[in-house]
């Protein structure tokens, strides 16, 4: 690339012999590493340390994240991540702890895991949590493996169906299929909820698990959840709670009380851990009392004032991750829990719901909102009318928002809403930010009527303009080659 402002690829810059070679003089690598692990050739670019620092600093200046602006990506809960959590997690007592440290020398770290596990269990009404999975979908997989093992031990191997409503979180059907279950998709009613009548139609002796998100991906609370859980339980199935939207319910209601047997949380969403760039996540997996024995190993247990890691759990599905998963995230999540306390967490959910409703009412003035009622922490809008009138799609609105310095909302999900924009402002945004965002979107919608071509061309102020997503999907070219 030679355009003005373009950044050369690190592989295309540098000169032979320019890199710092710390190991060349007097300390051959053979002194540190076994010979068979060494390669003769390593095709890495030859850059000086200064070149590398400049390269990555430039890249960091061109990314967008919550630290730069509003990020209303529905169901992803992109809230502010307090710096104090990082300060605590990166303390050398935590950050430099070796994963093979014996239990009696890692009591502080084990206490953190134990405290977090107990706090989550109490906050969400579960008997126990495993901190092992490193993402929400990872925990879903673990939960379905638990269900599979549970039914196998009960001799109920004909239970091969997993029910997923069209308002559930998008990863649910994929996790079920990965585990070898048949996915039964269930439509929501005209109010965007699962009805008891509908669940009765699909539940049967072959039902293994019903996976629900509550509030669902339309941002609506499933009021009939207890009756739905009763129908599934009556048929012998298990209820799974997807915790993607847990930011809406803390201190108000608990999945355990709604009748769920299994659940996951995304501590990187609800408990403020930086995410969004595909970075390390953390997905604690919670279970009701009858499933505790199946949790992944190891489990942190307390004996009087001592903590240790218990690997001796014969019914366990085994470890889902090496070592102690993303332990630093457990530290961040616990720091956030302690900083807020139970009243503070309740306030978090309260403000998340208030912000979503404030924005929903503002946006309803110029875009369709297909479910016009009080929502929880997020809501959906639709560009269906604009598409019919001017050919402007949700995609074009989303791209135009980038020119105003905002991250685009989640698009085209849930699938049941055509030309969907799914907006989650979170509790950490001010009224001024919400007003400015609504105003920007109003201007864009206005432009859609007067000059739709401008929106088809957007974004024009970003480093990379409109990308050809279709070509990228049809002819994926993901690897740099010399």
């Amino acid at each position: 690339m030679s355009e003005a402002g373009a950044i050369a690829l690190i592989f295309e810059s540098g000169q032979e012999g320019r890199a710092n070679r710390y190991f060349e003089q007097g300390k051959p690598l053979e002194n540190f590493l076994p010979r068979q692990l060494l390669r003769d050739e390593l095709p890495l670019p030859d850059n000086s340390e200064l070149d590398v620092v400049r390269h990555f600093t430039r890249l960091s200046q061109r990314t967008f994240g919550i630290d730069l602006g509003f990020y209303p990506l529905g169901s992803c809960t992109m809230k502010y991540n307090p710096r104090v959590n990082d300060a605590i997690a990166t303390r050398p007592e935590f950050a430099e702890l070796h994963p093979y440290t014996p239990d009696d020398l890692a009591q502080g770290a084990l206490a953190v895991m134990y405290e977090l596990e107990r706090s989550l269990s109490s906050l969400f009404g579960m008997a126990a949590f495993s901190l092992n999975p490193s993402a929400g979908a990872h925990a879903e997989l673990g939960a379905l493996l638990i269900a599979k093992k549970y039914f196998k031990e009960r001799g109920e191997t004909s239970r091969d169906k997993v029910i997923v409503p069209d308002t559930a979180h998008g990863t649910n059907p994929a996790s079920a299929a990965m585990c070898g279950f048949k996915v039964i998709s269930m439509p929501s009613n005209e109010r965007g909820r699962v009805s008891v009548a509908e669940i009765r139609k699909v539940v049967g002796a072959d039902t293994a698990v019903c996976m629900m998100t509550n509030p669902n991906t339309l941002g609506l609370f499933e009021e009939e959840i207890a009756a739905i859980a009763a129908v599934v339980h009556e048929a012998g199935g298990l209820m799974y709670y997807d915790g993607a939207n847990a930011n809406a319910i803390m201190g108000y209601t608990r999945p355990g009380d709604m009748g769920f047997d299994l659940m996951h949380l995304n501590t990187h969403k609800t408990f403020t851990i930086p995410h969004g760039g595909g970075g390390a996540g953390h997905g604690p997996l919670g279970v009701a009392a009858h499933l505790v024995d199946y949790l992944p190993t190891p489990v942190v247990v307390r004996e009087e004032s001592n903590f240790h890691l218990d690997f001796d759990r014969p019914k366990s599905i085994g470890p889902l991750r090496s070592f102690w998963s993303n332990f630093a995230h457990a530290v961040r999540a616990l720091a956030y829990l302690y900083a807020n306390g139970s009243e503070g967490l309740k306030r978090v959910s309260q403000l998340a719901v208030l912000n979503a409703n404030y924005l929903r009412v503002k946006i309803a003035e110029f875009l369709e909102t297909p479910y016009p009622e009080i929502c929880r922490h997020e809501f959906v809008a639709s560009a269906q009318r604009l598409k019919k009138q001017n050919g402007v799609r949700a995609l074009d609105l989303a791209k135009a928002l980038l020119d105003y310095g905002y991250m685009a909302p989640t698009m085209y999900f849930p699938l049941l809403v055509p030309e969907c924009l799914m907006i989650e402002p979170t509790e950490t945004e001010s009224k001024e930010t919400l007003d400015a965002f609504a105003e920007a979107l109003a201007k864009i919608v206005q432009r859609a009527h007067t000059d739709p071509q401008a929106l088809f061309d957007a974004p024009v102020t970003t480093v990379v303009g409109r990308v050809d997503e279709t070509r990228a999907a049809r002819q994926p070219d993901l690897r740099w080659r010399p």
Binding site: M411, Y412, L415, P418, E469, T470, A473, R474
Partner: protein, 126 residues
């Protein structure tokens, strides 16, 4: 391209044209428009027997991955191999070169449960 009047439609937005021992199946113009740019089509193997309204494959667009259903039952006798290198044909000509598969129908009565072009238009217009 066939006249729309010769086609029968399912509520799942597929069309079928029965021509004696061969029935050609595709998705409707409404469906391709709602899906957006199609990037991949997964079709069943020739010789597979499929029941009416059963899942026969997958259509992937830039927006979403959707299941494909068959409006009638039968044995797969041909699939549109050209879609492998040119899935965009489904967007360009959903009733022509963008056809998906051909079946040998096993139950001619099933077509009675399908919709006429005019009946389908009403559903798609909603």
């Amino acid at each position: 391209m066939a006249s729309l009047e010769d086609l029968l439609f399912s509520k799942e937005h597929e069309w079928v044209r029965v021509d004696g021992e061969s029935a050609t199946i595709g998705i409707t113009d409404y469906a391709q428009n709602a899906l957006g740019d199609i990037v991949y089509v997964e079709l069943p193997k020739v010789g597979t027997t499929i029941a009416q309204f059963a899942n026969v494959g997958v259509i992937e667009s830039v927006k979403a991955v959707s299941d494909l259903f068959t409006p009638i039952s039968g044995e797969v006798i041909e699939v549109n191999g050209a879609l492998e290198s040119d899935p965009a044909a489904v967007n360009r000509e959903p009733y022509g070169t963008g056809w998906l598969l051909k079946l040998r129908p096993t139950n001619p009565d099933e077509t009675k449960s399908l919709l006429s072009s005019a009946e389908y238009e009403k559903i798609a217009a909603d």
